[in-house]
Amino acid sequence: MSEVDQNQAGDTRRDFLKKTSFAAALSLTPITILKAADQKVDERFAELFEKIPLNLKVNNKSYALSVEPRVTLLDLLREQLHLTGTKKGCDHGQCGACTVHVDGQRINSCLSLAVMNEGKSITTIEGLANGNELHPMQAAFIKHDGFQCGYCTPGQIMSAVACVREGHANSREEIREYMSGNICRCGAYPNIVDAIQEVKEKGVKV
């Protein structure tokens, strides 16, 4: 994206929503909990938020983080690293919108605990393009109109790249089968298959 809508105060829509909802949440939090957390009086309460160090690479950038064990890789990417290209569709491993590459393999990031990715190399949709030069799969999706609302699209593209690399894009039937973990409510499937076929047939390096 080359342009981001901003209001007079320099806030994006996302920033504005964050500020107003944080203020609302703060006003609703019982004062007792705020005090306890502040003074660390409750040992067990503090223990509940014990964090674990986590070192990993995302789109070739190294991160040294500290996360609760229950944080999923999807939430880590979106909420902590602000890489919001990866989408939360179902959050239960059934739609594929959260597809990313971990050490070159496509996975559903919603079912992966962040802490289980220690030392791994993650690639998200933001990491596909080469500067301003689109990845061949991204270009193909645009050429073949492989999306409507675009919500499933980052997951589709990450999955499509892996599908070709795995050697599972040899026919329309095989593509449909090996892309079956990515669903599209808008029904852009035929065009998605077109895009993947073109990339495969061109033989370009993905």
Binding site: E50, R70, D91, G93, T99, Q105, L113, G181
Partner: protein, 325 residues
């Protein structure tokens, strides 16, 4: 999700000691089932022991025996050249399950341990003897379209959802289990259990045990085989009924047969009587239909899954026909 303690080790002995020390601890491998269940509040372990770094990912074939490390991913096992060459039925069953993304993470051991997909098990507001013993079974007399027709009990009619397990039971696999006391080996057919009076237990794994290896003896079922999975969608859906069929045909006669079904019972369902009928017979439609009839002995339906009484034998015949071709 509730918070929990997280520990990680790359030594089997350490993992076994950790699980023994704390009754509230469970192992996590791929996590594609466990994390989902934890998100939904179906299960809430207080401590997870991450076993992904244990050295249990090898696949080897020697002395007519395929040995598979329990942490091998489903996709790695499906694509392994030795499996595609000598155990292609197993490859087919693996490819029929889940999605590519899930198969890359899910492990062999985890696939065996996966819980049922019954809606009442998943819905914590619903009665479920498996999730909460004694609370009742919502599926009996409720929505039971996906449920069992063999080996059911009055407490539970859930099915085991795995495709890989149907292949493993058909191919006479064995399972190696490790604990602080040592290793033991059992038949794959004895790993999962029927619901009976203890539906809260899916299998015969004892507390403190870890699946380390699955072994499959060499066989002649790599020429005539098929895995037919019937489901509401053409892909990425659990089976209504599935059949793994394999035939060893010599001189136009079936010398040996393997038949197993998924989507029909609390454990992968081996059809021994039907296999015995087929031995020595000609691989023709009449014999396939007779085998299917024998296979359906004892089948019982619960209202919404009555159609399985027709779908199952038809799928058996079709699978055998495709295997023979």
């Amino acid at each position: 999700m509730i918070n929990f303690q997280y520990l990680r080790t790359s030594v089997v002995k350490t993992a076994l000691n950790l699980i023994n020390k704390d009754s509230k601890a469970v192992f996590i491998a791929g996590g594609t089932n466990l994390v989902d269940l934890m998100k939904r509040g179906v299960t809430a372990p207080e401590k997870l022991i991450d076993i992904n770094h244990l050295p249990l990912k090898q696949i080897s074939f020697a002395n007519n025996l395929l040995q598979i490390g329990a942490l091998t991913s489903n996709s790695a096992l499906a694509e392994a050249p030795i499996v595609k060459e000598k155990f292609p039925l197993l490859s087919l069953t693996l490819q029929a399950g889940a999605s590519a993304q899930l198969r890359n993470v899910a492990t062999v051991g985890g696939n065996m341990m996966q819980r049922t997909r019954c809606g009442y098990f998943y819905d914590t507001t619903m009665p479920c003897n498996k999730r909460e013993p004694g609370s009742g079974c919502g599926a009996i007399g409720g929505y039971n379209r996906m449920h069992a027709i063999f080996g059911t009990s009055e407490h539970c009619i859930a099915v085991h959802p795995s495709d890989m397990c149907v292949g493993l039971i058909a191919l006479d696999a064995q399972v190696v289990l490790a604990s602080a006391k040592g290793e033991r080996k059992i038949k794959f057919a004895d790993f999962h259990k029927l619901a009976g009076n203890t539906p809260e237990k899916d299998n015969n794994l004892q507390k403190g045990e870890l699946i380390v290896r699955v072994e499959i003896p060499a066989n002649n079922f790599n020429k005539n085989f098929h895995y037919l999975k019937v489901r509401d969608r053409s892909s990425y859906a659990f089976a209504l009924v599935s059949v793994a069929a394999a035939l060893d045909i010599s001189n136009g006669v079936i010398s040996d047969a393997r038949l197993a079904m998924g989507g029909v019972a609390h454990k992968p369902w081996r059809l021994i009587e039907a296999e015995n009928f087929l031995k020595g017979k000609s691989p023709n439609k009449a014999n396939f239909e007779q085998a299917a009839k024998i296979a359906m002995n004892g089948a019982k339906s619960f209202g919404e899954n009555d159609f399985k009484l027709t779908l199952a034998p038809n799928t058996i015949v079709e699978a055998l026909t495709l295997a023979q071709a």
